[in-house]
């Protein structure tokens, strides 16, 4: 579904991604783990088009994304739930959700998607008139996820949905992600620092360090890998 070949990205000469290649098949749950500053966020932004790729190719559903603007990529069914949640603070919870299905292909299904999202996150129904900026961190993350689902996407990009949240909320968020993927066979690319939880959820994973893919494999293989165990699992 998504193929990235030899992607390179630099910020004013500093190389953030070097020769990154990866693939996400339809219906797959792929996760990318790695330490701070590894380039995980940069990778998702390159897919969405909010940072320019310097080298390489990104292909989605057999189309080269290279020349497409970020809004066009979203219109193709790629929903990006960005790092730090990035809800629209001065809009209400309901308006945030409505804008999730702004893309043309999602508008017809807006009502149905809204019912599903509100069933998934009942707290959002209670808060639907409140300004998104006044929500707690956990609620904002649910809203960001809900907004992403409102797009009824084919590919969901999740950037550290656990960031800055307490353990109970994190568990709830991961459970929800697992549930939506089972129920909808959604294709998901998840970026996480919580290596254990992320690897346990996924089908396949990549380890990214200082802009390079240093390890790739299926869930069991990664969880059993000595280097992963030493660096991330505290074994």
């Amino acid at each position: 579904m998504l193929t990235i070949a030899s992607l390179g990205v630099s910020y004013e000469g500093l190389r953030a991604l070097v020769d990154v290649s990866l693939e996400v098949g339809a219906g797959e749950f792929v996760t990318i783990v790695g330490p701070n500053g590894a380039g995980k966020t940069t990778l998702l932004k390159a897919i969405s088009g909010t940072v320019p790729s310097e080298t390489g190719r990104i292909t989605y559903l057999a189309q080269d994304l290279g020349a497409r603007r970020p809004s066009e990529r979203a219109a193709l069914g790629i929903a990006h739930v960005p790092e730090g949640r990035r809800v629209f603070p001065s809009l209400t919870v309901m308006e945030n959700l409505e804008l999730g299905s702004y893309r043309r292909a999602a508008r017809a299904g807006r009502k149905g998607a809204l019912d599903e999202v509100l069933a998934l996150f009942p707290i959002l129904r209670e808060r639907h008139r409140q300004l998104a900026g006044s929500l707690s961190g956990g609620e904002q993350q649910m809203l960001a996820l809900g907004r992403g689902l409102m797009a009824q996407p084919d590919l969901l990009l999740l950037d550290e949905p656990s960031q800055g949240l307490g353990p109970r909320i994190v568990e709830q968020i991961f459970e929800t992600i697992d549930r939506i993927r089972r129920e909808r066979r959604l294709t998901i690319l998840l970026v996480e620092q919580r290596v254990v939880e992320a690897l346990e959820l996924c089908d396949r994973g990549y380890v990214l360090e200082t802009g390079r893919v240093v390890l790739a494999g299926r869930r069991e293989a990664l969880l059993a890998d000595a280097r992963v165990q030493r660096a991330y699992l505290g074994a």
Partner: protein, 297 residues
Amino acid sequence: MALAELVQYVATGLLVGGVYALMSIGLALIFGVMRVVNFAQGDFMMLGMYLTYFYAISGSVDPLLGALLTIPPFFVLGWIVHRGLLARVTGGGDPQRQMDAQLILTLGLSLVITNATTMILTPTPLGIRTGYATQAFALGPVLLNQARSYAFAMALVLAAAVYVFLTRTDLGKALRASADDPEAASYQGIDVRAMHGLAFGIGIALVAAAGGLLATYYPIEPTVAGNFIVLMFVAVVLGGLGSIPGAFVGGLVIGLVQSLTLLVLPFQLQNTGVFIVFLLVLYFRPQGLFGRRARTV
């Protein structure tokens, strides 16, 4: 001082304040969505006055209708100015250099428009004659000039239309989302560059329409922008930078303060009160009267 006199000044102030409010909304929308301070806003208002004048003399279109008819051409003009000029210096690149470029661009645009208008149309002030400009509605002892009353009513209707657009339509919500967080907006499939064009087009159309309404009671000349641009800026800052309801209230407050100043100071000093209130608000409430976050529409 008689109570009736005070009510008279308050009423007059609110009437002109309604037109200031409409002008200021346009400026606030452009700033809120694009982060561009448009110094040429007053010049587009002046062009709106002239277009309304030409509608009136060449087609005997009433200026109240003429003001409405400035909206489509000025929306298109705003869109073109954005695409052709502003889009080159917004969205991407070093923010400081972009700010400088925008400043120079809108200031330059203002100079070019003023001077070109002076050359082509001469500096001679023009006026639109209407039956109602010299009539008044009498509410007991209080007299409301009819031109100003009609202009006020139309400004309110247009402001309400903008409010409904921004809060009830997908496009309006997308505009506000682009003001809040352009990057996150693009992840929803919102074309932020198109939103900038839309914001600039609407902002210019509103100030042109406000100019048309103003032309029912105010002389038209190429340098008229200078009398209003500062008032618009003060209204927008008073309301909390970029907030649309804030700019609306800010405009009303400025009309009111301007009018009440005349109770104690001569006409030439009528903006003194505006600046005093401005400084007081900045001192006690630097986030503006509405006091929300800066980056909202």
